[in-house]
Symmetry: C2
Subunit: 357 residues, 2 copies
Amino acid sequence: MHKKLFIPGPVEVSEDVLLKMATPMIGHRSKDASILQKNISDKLKIVFNTKEEILLSTSSGSGLMEGAVRSCTKKRAAIFSIGAFGKKWYEIAKCNGVAADLYEFQWGEILKPEFVDEILKTGKYDLITITHNETSTGIMNPVEEISKVVKKYPDIVWCLDTVSSMAGTRIDVDKLGVDICVTSSQKALGLPPGIAVCSFSTKAIERAKTVENRGFYFDLLKLHEAIIKRNYQYPSTPSISHMYALDYALDKMLEEGMENRFKRHIEMAKYVRNWAEKYFDIFGDKKHLSNTVTVVKNTREISIADLNKALGERGFTLANGYGKIKDKTFRIAHMGDCSLDDIKEIIANINDILDLK
Amino acid sequence: MHKKLFIPGPVEVSEDVLLKMATPMIGHRSKDASILQKNISDKLKIVFNTKEEILLSTSSGSGLMEGAVRSCTKKRAAIFSIGAFGKKWYEIAKCNGVAADLYEFQWGEILKPEFVDEILKTGKYDLITITHNETSTGIMNPVEEISKVVKKYPDIVWCLDTVSSMAGTRIDVDKLGVDICVTSSQKALGLPPGIAVCSFSTKAIERAKTVENRGFYFDLLKLHEAIIKRNYQYPSTPSISHMYALDYALDKMLEEGMENRFKRHIEMAKYVRNWAEKYFDIFGDKKHLSNTVTVVKNTREISIADLNKALGERGFTLANGYGKIKDKTFRIAHMGDCSLDDIKEIIANINDILDLK
């Protein structure tokens, strides 16, 4: 029996989107492939709110994160982390011999804009990485406020991980001044995992030109040059199946309307939060909760494995807490093509299993 | 109208395999995901003729080529090239600051075993890259003879690109002594593009342990450690859709029987070669022709663009020559799930269009 996924990625994928994954192949050097990629880019520019070019990578989001840090750090990177995925940027930088410092906050906290200011004031850095929506803690960083600080430092290339938020909540890439905004397919975009996309600003392009040893597959400058010179074709063969599914999903998204989509995500988030507060509690800073995933504090000390097993028998899966807050928390994702009815259904089943009244 | 692909990747994918791409999602940290990956690895070991572990990467084959050269060159790499894809290894090495020398042969020639011996005798190298089946020239290197030479040098990590040959012709990875054998999904495996796989020998593992700055996403050692320690789960979210399709395609393949599969490929190759010799000519060294793609010399100086346009109207696509032999040659791929009847069909259409009798 298929179990409906309420984990923060891969998300449950609609049947019509799944079927697009079965589209017959075309050559990746054909005109049709150029048109397909150009269409995807144009639609993603609307979702990202950017006029910059969009790069596609057949990989997970981590691949483009690696590309961003490796291609665009000339001096030193400041890695701001509020959870497991924030810290991942640091691991990536270290593995590539990129000079970087890690600034970690307690899990559940946000990144304070004034702290960013303090660090950038040192003049030591020319690239920063921030996680917009921390999937491990359910916290969404105040990027509007952070943006005001970052704008004071025109030499900074700003990399923003929106892997679990893009298309689930409004992100104004150009207005914020984000240079490389990374997301991947299996979260709020509502697709199977397998491709990642990012915006790539003029500032980032100019920076990359000064950086040596950018690698091959994730060299963002090479990807950018290829789509410009080769009419939206990539140096390596991309996942055409994902491109068809993404193109279709973006049409659906724009038909729903981005504002309606964000409203739907907020409604789902509110429903889960209200329920969590009634029967459990919510992890972390309640003023900055994620619209796409809720991390529930396991105040009742239930066995999450047992709950998931019982849910599994009914055709649902949620996620245990991540890393050091495993078992102390559990996570319910509400993103992508998930509806409020879907959320009500899993919550009703949890209530029934745990006998919550 | 869908055009049946006779280009050397992406190949035409069978409808049943395509449908597996539409399988509903599972969590990539679930037991089911571990079982799926373990099954794929076990079956691929049969296809590769290896007892070593198989690594899967959500990327094109170039990604794993990058991983191989970057993870396992400690001293210096010797890149042997007989065409465009051989040279790609060199570009990859250079982009990563890996010390490497390029040894190029004329397009259409093979790599001579005695030349490999001469180069390895210098003692300068600890890694070599060889293309088994050069997709740009239609030449298949004599890896059995080359293997005898390479075995004289126990410090050499041998990387073999079998992107367009694995599962289309017999490759005995362990017997040959290949350390990292790379292939990708969209060629003779008969899947859509999007994943790549490689074998990873104990010698390669030990070498990687001595190499710093192996990167993140394509660090083969990290991938290997992950599947060992995490029960066949990868550090980053993989393309589950491709994994389902690959698992299914491998079942079909083993049911057909590998020897039958290779026979089918030889039959198709012979048919195309006979036709090419009758009406055109074949490019390159005729003693070492590829079993998966035939590069036809355009001795009649036809317009390949026009031929492909006319074929397109009938629902077929072949490939122009690659790079510097574009228009001077054209390519017909005969690999994956393609049948002799499919080949006869496109050839009959070419005969009809060009009025060949």
